[in-house]
């Protein structure tokens, strides 16, 4: 109902809620905060990928009595990081399973002294054979996790794939690879912890999910819920990189606080953050696809392998999303997806914007262009013939009940980019120019919210209350780290109650104040939590009508006066509500069948790329992103999400390479891990089509992750268009272009002689 109504505040480009503090330089990030008598922590890490710890030696030239020293033996509760499985220790105990695993923690009042002391702790190892790639893990010669190195596997089956091969007019196979990617939030991971017997543990930190950290601390310290308090400080970027790692770092700082009796700050420098914290899962995806004579998909057989690193962390859920996004936005009667997350002795890979989808969407959207070339269809036409439409069934047999407007998005993307005219022009120019230009597209969906039964299991709670100072507060553990949580949730509450934007503020993201509205991940905040705030706000008004007779069409003053009457009569002025799944949602976790996501956001990207055949650089010259993500709650913020996601996707495709040597990241500096700069990012043209989703906050679906899914395949498709050469692996650096293009040129020249 409300999703189609005219709104005053939702849909308006109101300025970011915490914007003024950030612009004045007075927003307090964790490293800007000092606590009384605060010490500084540091971490002694493993230098080998796998082995037994035989001895820990402390250099006698240092007076260790000035330091707090913590090892696994000091942990009062359970030595594990609470996530999905309990296999990752908080501190290595007897054995290390990856380089840069934490073994010993140190704290000292002097920041410089504690850093110097790290190298004065010597670890003696008895090395064990290590597994450092997907292929080594698959061979199972060395078992490093469980019985078979498999962190998780899925089988998704629709129809009968094997029966389809014989009747196919075309069968096209391909293999696609994606590398690790670092989040490169500009603020490194950091926390401050305090401990005392009366209050237990308090942690302030740069983090996405206060209640994840809360849960881990409960286990590590074996404390009751009221003795652990987690407060998110202003957070300087996250992108998934502060979803699970802060649980480890918070535990470390809190252990040092307990041991030292002081507040302890641990803020990583860039080298430590890059070497020791999570990255996007590397992947290898194989496609075998059957089509009929008209270019209609008959069967898709997909095999996915991801590198999960040494512990399971979030690899199972990342693999789930990778699996569910792997067939792309197409109708196909027979689909089989076999997927495995493999354990290796590398730093555990983790959540990163898109959460497995960018990997498998890269593969399927690159593969579509290979199919098009193989069967003699235009890439656009092949996609059009196979797009999902309303009423169609996905690979999990989910019926598309909400409108699907892929054709419209594609039409708009082609028109805005001048796709056809440009392709024709470039084809002519490329014959004589050393710079080859091409156009590439990618079409895709991104499932919003937790997968399958995930949102039901989370059972999130959110609320609003009214302060004595006359402000409505939004009560959520959903955090702000640049995406606009504060702004859109306060917009929703102001709209629903009938107040102005400035009348609503966010309650501090502090587990002692706000309920658990679930983690700030999975493009779920606007859609799921937004809906909770919309409902709680309406509930608050209904409560005031009933309790103190608030009239219809109330003014602002009447509203707050009613709140005060309610407060006098009943105490606090507050309304809460819990998640309710949309009707007709069914998910079978065993068969991987049913409504994989309550809603999908849809998008078509177009990239214009120039490949210089003298320097072998590939430059994205122009970029168009057209999407439907439900109602746009704040056009400036939503546009910013798309532009930022596209820029990260460009980095993923062309710039960002994690170089591993002996299991360690070798380029753990901003000097040699390269992200796109102001001079590398092209103009990004963003267009929204809006179809309100009735179960999202004021009609919103998720937008945060969607834009990261498309750039890599669109760019590599454009490079194929420009050069006629297929590249199937990212990151695609100039040296990779050189290797293949120069070899081909030499072969052509040799043939000419």
């Amino acid at each position: 109902m409300s999703t189609h109504a005219k709104t005053r505040i939702v849909g308006v480009p109101l300025p970011r809620k915490e914007g003024v503090d950030k612009l004045l330089g007075r927003a307090r990030y964790v490293d800007d905060i000092e606590r009384e008598g605060m010490w500084f922590g540091a971490t002694v890490r493993s230098t080998i990928p796998r082995g037994f710890i035989r001895e820990i030696r402390f250099d006698r030239r240092i007076d260790w009595s000035e330091f707090a020293v913590v090892t696994a033996a000091d942990i009062p509760g359970h030595n594990h990081i609470h996530l999905i499985f309990a296999d990752q220790p908080c501190l290595a105990d007897g054995q290390v399973n990856h380089c840069d695993e934490a073994i010993v923690l140190l704290a000292h009042r002097d920041k410089c002294r504690v850093r110097e002391a790290v190298s004065a702790v010597q670890i003696e190892y008895e090395p064990l054979p290590a597994v450092l790639s997907i292929e080594e893990s698959e061979r199972q010669d060395v078992i490093v996790w469980g019985a078979d190195n498999v962190l998780k596997s899925f089988l998704l089956e629709k129809g009968d794939v094997d029966a389809a091969w014989t009747s196919a007019a075309h069968i096209v196979e391909g293999e696609y690879r994606t590398g690790a990617q670092e989040h490169l939030y500009i603020e490194n991971n950091g926390v401050i912890a305090e401990f005392n017997e009366r209050d237990g543990v308090t942690v302030w930190g740069s983090l996405q999910c206060p209640y994840y950290v809360h849960k881990t601390l409960l286990a590590v310290f074996d404390l009751s819920e009221d003795k652990v308090r987690v407060i998110q400080t202003e957070t300087g970027g996250a992108f998934g990189g502060k979803e699970d790692y802060p649980s480890t770092l918070a535990s470390h700082a809190a252990l040092l606080a307990m041991k030292s009796g002081h507040a302890v700050k641990m803020v990583y420098d860039r080298m430590e953050d890059l070497a020791a914290t999570t990255k996007r899962h590397p992947s290898r995806v194989r496609h075998k696809t059957a089509l009929d004579a008209h270019g209609k998909l008959l069967a898709m057989d997909i095999e996915i392998a991801t590198d999960g690193g040494a512990y399971s962390t979030l690899s199972s859920t990342v693999l789930s999303r990778a699996t569910l996004h792997s067939p792309g936005p197409y109708v196909c009667p027979n689909v089989r997806v076999r997927s495995h997350a493999w354990a290796t002795n590398l730093v555990p890979y983790g959540a990163f914007r898109g959460f497995g989808a960018p990997q498998t969407i890269f593969a399927v959207e690159r593969h579509m262009d290979e199919i098009a070339a193989a069967i003699g269809l235009e890439p656009v036409e092949l996609r059009r013939r196979n797009f999902l439409h309303d009423g169609d069934r996905t690979a999990t047999e989910q019926v598309m009940r909400e409108p699907v407007i892929l054709d419209k998005l594609l039409d708009r993307a082609l028109k805005e980019s001048g796709y056809h005219a440009k392709r024709a022009k470039f084809a002519k120019e490329n014959r004589t120019s050393p710079v080859k230009r091409g156009m590439g597209i990618a079409a895709f969906y991104h499932g919003a919210g937790f997968t399958g039964s995930g949102e039901r299991n989370l059972n999130s709670m959110a609320g609003v209350d009214v302060t004595a100072e006359g402000k409505v507060r939004v009560l959520v553990s959903s955090t702000e780290f640049g995406q606009g949580t504060n702004t859109v949730l306060t917009q929703v509450a102001a709209e629903a109650i009938g107040l102005e934007y400035d009348d609503v503020i966010m309650a501090p993201p502090d587990t002692s104040i706000v309920p658990n509205s679930g983690p700030t991940v999975a493009s779920r905040t606007s859609m799921v939590v937004g809906k909770l705030i919309e409902r709680a706000s309406l509930q608050l008004v209904a409560m005031l009508r009933e309790s103190v007779g608030l009239d219809e069409g109330f003014t602002r003053d009447e509203f707050f006066a009613a709140c005060e009457r309610h407060r006098t009569a009943k105490g606090e002025v507050r309304a809460h509500c819990r998640y309710e799944a949309p009707p007709n949602i069914f998910w079978d976790d065993q068969k991987y069948r049913g409504e994989a996501y309550p809603a999908y956001a849809w998008s078509v990207h177009v990239a214009q790329v120039a490949v210089d055949t003298v320097t072998y650089s590939a430059d994205v010259e122009d970029f168009w992103a057209v999407q439907e993500a439900g109602r746009v709650l704040n056009p400036v913020l939503a546009g910013g999400q798309v532009e930022g996601g596209v820029a990260q996707g460009i980095g993923y495709a062309l710039y960002e390479k994690v170089v591993l040597q002996g299991g360690r990241m070798a380029n753990n500096q901003m000097t040699n891990y390269i992200m796109p700069t102001a001079e590398d990012v092209p103009p990004i043209h963003v267009y929204f089509e809006e179809i309100p989703f009735s179960h999202g906050g004021y009609g919103a679906k998720g937008i945060g992750e969607l834009p990261h899914d498309g750039p890599a395949p669109a760019i590599l498709n454009a490079i194929r268009d420009a050069t006629g050469v297929s590249f199937t692996s990212i990151p695609l650096l100039p040296e990779d272009l050189f290797e293949k293009l120069a070899t081909l040129e030499n072969a052509t020249e040799a043939a000419a002689v």
């Binding site: 914007g19 612009l23 490293d31 300087g236 992108f239 420098d269 606009g484 996601g645 901003m670």
Partner: protein
């Protein structure tokens, strides 16, 4: 004063300030720890990200690469020195309304780079804006709205405020 410490006198955001610190202490740490001006941030510690950018004698510097001794007698401007009497600087106003800040961690450095750019070139072209901000990394915005913010401030005469 200990032999390891040096007295440094400089003008920070228009105010005379004095500190006694090790001469090789990074200007960034002196600003953040000794003067409690925490607007400038440390992103990389090696001059790559620009989030510690401040203006020193009219030049844009990475304060993580400047030993404080180099700032003896200098005129320094940080993000805290941009707004006047609680009134947002035109660039801050433009960043707020164009969406130039998301997580905000690069924003102080980005604002200083933009201030510096407009001081040297009050009406930059898009190519000049890109070049002027190329030493400052932003991971959230894809830069698009930052360019727009700078262009908007320039169009409204944002260069006037640099003289403060």
């Amino acid at each position: 004063m200990s032999a390891d410490f040096t007295a440094i006198d400089f003008i920070v955001n228009g105010e005379k300030r004095s500190v006694e610190v090790p001469p090789m202490k990074r200007l960034l740490d002196v600003l953040r720890e000794d003067l409690r001006l925490t607007g400038a941030k440390e992103g990389c510690g090696e001059g790559e990200c620009g989030s510690c950018s401040v203006r020193l004698n009219g030049e844009l510097v990475n304060s993580c690469l400047v030993p404080v001794l180099h700032a003896q007698g200098a005129w320094i401007q940080t993000v805290e020195g941009l707004a006047l009497d609680g009134e947002l600087h035109p660039l801050q106003h433009a960043f707020l309304h164009c969406g130039g800040a998301q997580c905000g961690i690069c924003t102080p450095g980005m604002l200083m780079a933009a201030t510096h750019l407009l001081a040297k070139n009050p009406h930059p072209s898009m190519a000049e804006i890109r070049e002027g901000l190329a030493g400052n990394l932003c991971r959230c915005t894809g830069f698009t709205r930052i360019f727009e913010s700078v262009a908007s401030a320039a169009a409204q005469g944002g260069e006037g405020a640099h003289a403060r």
